[in-house]
Symmetry: D2
Subunit: 403 residues, 4 copies
């Protein structure tokens, strides 16, 4: 008596069931298994030691929520065929398949491509391998399928990706304030003229969802220590590349080296790119940092040892762009201590981070009233939505240079 489902343990939802068939086959594929080695929150574990969960676990969780959302909608009479359900499930399962190591910020330095494009490339490759079984999933993913709400469940204001990651990131960081009522929101979903809407009595849950998202951004995703670590890692990679281009030989895992040290003009087929990229994960960066912590170049080893031993730079948020004179003062202080040995531009950084809890410019959250009327949420709620773009400016530098 073998069960028709495989069960995964998930401390967030208890169990996640996956039916045997294409969905389980996708999970077993090396492309998907790679996600076991890519953390959802990159370097955030420096701040939240429990935040080690992976994109693998997140994708399973999002699949679980997709199954719940489909069941809810069907119970409300929305027509979703078995093929469409499987397509939406495959699409959410693979939505992050193109994610590279550690963080969005490394995307451009490494692959010269956005992770959504890479996800699409991976899906196409898998579709060939699985003889076209993913065509429907791909058209949902790319918003080319007529039932628009299926795409919105995969990628939209209230998609299963966000539902899972807010919840999961809260769970593993221990920032209980990020917890959202994902189950309540899902139960309030409905479809109106082919688009996803939320029933009237779900308004408070949506407000809560938006404020939780805002909180998670500033308290977790853009936590100053995590941002500092990310900047340090980016500068370590840049410094390594500079050294390599100037002829210095550096230890580095092979596939990471392919991306890191190739000339900007180097041609590479999509196939070659995917082949290397599919071998890349968080481990390669950590291995490189460990190698480089013993490098001869001061700047490279200084940054790498900082990352290894958690001697992270200080990052200050400023409400306005950092005052030039202030920045110059810090640069001089750093130069006075490490100047002779170090490349100053790799030790002092300025920049900005922005976030908008609810970006209504591309798509709006719509509320369905009992009388059948539908309105954008900002015309329904009696509190203001969180649509403004919040920008914070930073300066980041080695801790002991502070005066």
């Amino acid at each position: 008596m073998s069960s028709r489902k495989k069960i995964f343990n998930d401390p967030v939802y208890g169990f996640v069931s996956v039916p045997r068939g294409i969905l389980l086959d996708l999970i077993d594929h090396p492309y998907f298994q790679r996600l076991r080695r890519i953390r959802q929150l990159g370097l955030s574990s420096y701040v939240y030691p429990g935040a080690l969960h992976t994109r693998f676990h997140h994708a399973l969780g999002a699949l679980h929520l997709m199954q719940e959302a489909i069941e809810t909608l069907r119970q409300k009479g929305v027509d979703i065929s078995p093929e469409e359900a499987e397509g939406a499930c495959a699409a959410i399962l693979l939505h992050d398949i193109g994610h590279g190591p550690f963080s969005h910020a490394l995307e451009h330095s490494l692959a010269a491509m956005h992770h959504e494009e890479l996800s699409h490339l991976f899906m196409e490759a898998l579709n060939r391998e699985f003889n076209g079984q993913l065509s429907l999933a791909i058209s949902i993913f790319r918003d080319e399928y007529p039932k628009k709400f299926l795409h919105q469940l995969v990628s939209g204001q209230l998609d299963m990706d966000r539902m899972d990651y807010l919840n999961r990131d809260s769970f593993f960081t221990g920032v209980s304030e990020g917890v959202i009522g994902y189950d309540r929101i899902i139960k309030m979903l409905a479809v109106h003229e082919g688009e996803l809407v939320v029933e009237e009595k779900g308004i408070y849950s949506i407000e809560k969802f938006l404020i939780a998202r805002r909180l998670m951004y500033w308290q977790v995703y853009l936590h100053k220590t995590g941002v500092a670590a990310e900047k340090m890692l980016i500068h370590a990679l840049r410094r390594a590349r500079e050294l390599s281009l100037s002829g210095v030989e550096l230890e580095v895992p092979r596939h990471l080296g392919w991306f890191l040290f190739r000339q900007s003009g180097d041609a590479a087929s999509t196939e070659e790119l995917l082949s290397h990229f599919s071998k890349l994960d968080d481990n390669d960066l950590t291995a490189a940092v460990k190698y480089w912590s013993e490098a001869e170049d001061f700047t490279l080893s200084f940054l790498s040892r900082g990352l290894l031993d958690r001697k992270l730079f200080r990052l200050e948020w400023h409400p306005e762009p950092v005052d030039q004179a202030y920045a110059q003062g810090i640069r001089e202080g750093v130069a006075a201590i490490w100047g002779p040995m170090a490349i100053l531009d790799h030790l002092v950084y300025t920049g900005s981070e922005s976030n908008r809890a609810y970006n209504d410019t591309k798509e709006q959250i719509k509320i369905l009233f009992k009388n059948g009327q539908v309105k954008p949420i900002d015309q329904c709620s009696d509190v203001p939505m969180y649509t403004q773009l919040v920008t914070k400016y930073f300066i980041c530098y080695p801790k002991d240079s502070a005066r």
Copy 2:
């Protein structure tokens, strides 16, 4: 080896420890034990079947948080003497001691006094009984003690009362979205010029706290079914009083009868009032409703049976005061069915409920910056605060009368 503390089980915090001495003596007093029979959320268990927790448990929880807040402040160097700590603990323990059965709404019909005044009367009585040991607690409770922050911990924008009830009500209703980061907020508390402030990095937690409070108001405390039940109960009491005044004899528990049936001109000493009030709890109202469900008067038994068997009235929220013609139509529909037997005014009600998540008119939440500066939160947060008064209007009537 007897422990110096008594431990209470609390599913919300695990354990609550109470040191032997005045605090435990207060808990053991019949006045405090009465709170075991007064539910925190009144009639909300009609909507949330788990919401049966009592003011007894809430007061213990608030005491627990007070102990944590005091420890946090002391660690930051705030001077709080053992007597002051005990006083603040006693004050929070007794802050609800004057609560009557079921809900704020019954306060005026029953006792002609606000529960905070009653709490004060109870405290004075206990102070006499405990030979003045509560004098400091009372002065903190009444905001007459110089260290204002102690009062603010008992009753203020971020008091331990709110911290506990939001959390506890979330827990027992199962509305997980009401969960607040009470532990994080408490860890962010500080004292500046004698007043309670919040450290800068606690801003997001405060925003979250306010939105959670707003959500709990509309989703739980002012849930339409709970409000409908409350209105029905109030009208049952009024009808009983009418009948009694007109000479009909009605069964009713003795002490409830004292409040319900006495003439408005009846004089009563504070002592007499307290003596009756201290015998009153949720049970008396439920017992009355059970008696009255078998009463001869149609209106009284109709309301009482509705409450007993959960045949609750429908309540509609309207954004504006309910249209007169619309209300008249409903009244006529109800009259057509039950008119001949029933008093229409006890079957159809209109009115309004209001809530303001953050009422900054009396007191403001203040943020302490690293540089020592202090500002009101609405000058710090980059999202708008929830200061507006939200009012909703309702009409409430028997379900089967809807047309």
Copy 3:
């Protein structure tokens, strides 16, 4: 777009969905609504202040688990028709419908009938009202239906009743050690030759379930303070009956009075019995205790005030029957203090309580191995099962009489 299900909030499981139809109609019936006023754990809230949850909530939870168990079994290929599923669901929903106020211990004093017989009577009455729609449910409840496993899900070693109550009681008491892996156990259920079995890899979960049950018995259900309160309540009722039979008039809610004060020879039709019983709940006992706390009879008011103000008797556990001389000493001590006014037999009690975590004499837990073999669990586990009957003896008396 009205949903085909009604959703109940449950802090234990998040949400419980009930399909519209007979199941929801049963829940809406006054007989079932009565369970809102009957606590699952009787007087345990004296010890665990959160333990106020009701049989209403428990029945909904058990229904939820039944739905999960049926889905699991169907996925493993077990044939369960929609009618059988509904029957099993109705049976578990109503399994406790005959429960009286507060506790098993009061069953005989009040109704002269076991609650399972009363449940059966209620079901028959409901079946008449619902035109025979409950016949299948009743045959499952009474183990008269051929597919025995359906009865075992309602009442057996691993029934949904136990799964829910262990879990729910843990949740509301805060005794986290009583938590069982109900979801894992349910996923491990299977059917072999018409009987419920557990898959091999569920053995550890079953061991854990049995030890958790044992722990809950001694730590919660038979906690000495809870048992003391129960004995006091029983003796208060007995004393009230004695007084009434001797002509003293006592206030008491009407339907409770019917049971309490009638002569043993009084005849009553089943209909009359049900009619009174269906109006009885925890409130009636509390109301009586409140009345009697002001009674003239010392014994009755002493016990009642003790229950009201939580001045509970001391209960000592002894591994052997309480030594006669020791008991006599205590009796004399009590007599010396309250003797002149009090009836000694109502102030000092001895007796015993027993529990067996796994009673394998009537039915055994059976394990299904991968090779298709089935064995009783005590032949499979490499640790001993908890089959022995554990008995503890007690003496219980007013606290201040201890010397």
Copy 4:
């Protein structure tokens, strides 16, 4: 106003506070930061995808519990000086400092030393660096300090190590059945004649703790898939060593190579050993596996790819040593498929795993009765303890070779 404590987020306990001073300095040391890169449960994340938590987080958690245990004991009048408290805290913080990558099983192959010896070496090195501040901690760790109970809190039947790891492993695996009442057990701890004992009413919690430990062993720590992965990793390392000794050049992170490829006769100073060992973590093994998955040697790349892509071997448990003929049959099946290319001994393994939930041979759990008497738990509990050694035998081989 800088706080005297640093706060770590922990989803298990909410927050963990560490006082500034030696404890925080230890945490900041690179030796301790290394534990961020060593998972608590080695390869268990193949089975439980959430089980990625590290020894770093575990050590912080155990420190947290130690602080609670000390506070509890002090409240019961046990004399513990500030220096002793700090010593016990430092000892528990460092108890795992010598742990190598992934698992106990690798200990001998890599370092020829037990992790407790290595922990001691690290402590001595740190003690030198911190000018003897750790001497008291070391004497507690090595059970040389007169107050034996301090050592028992660090390493004993009920030490804070076990309390934390059972709890934490339950949390991150999602195996909720492993949850123990750590807070209740800690509250029941006492000291009698210098030794740690448990108060009488904690007996059920201890039973529960032992059965939860047993469950975690067989369900998590010795889960067949996790054990299979571990065996595969050990054989990959052995194969790499064989190849290296025979002159094949293999990519491998430097410090791992030092351990893996050195001759058994190679002399190395303790200093040299520590210097390499302190640079070793889980990453080095993963990096090696990634390199070797592209190695030319079939056996090495087969094992490595299996680990990388989660094509794990099948492991069968047998109650008796695996039947020779049966094992031979499997070997032949494997040989028939991969024989020509592969080293059979690295593809088929037999062996055994044992566990004893309560090993009372070295130390016993002792119960303190109210009358002051102390007895070993097996003389107090009315159920049998779990003292027997349970051994299971296994055979492990590539999945597709099954016939």
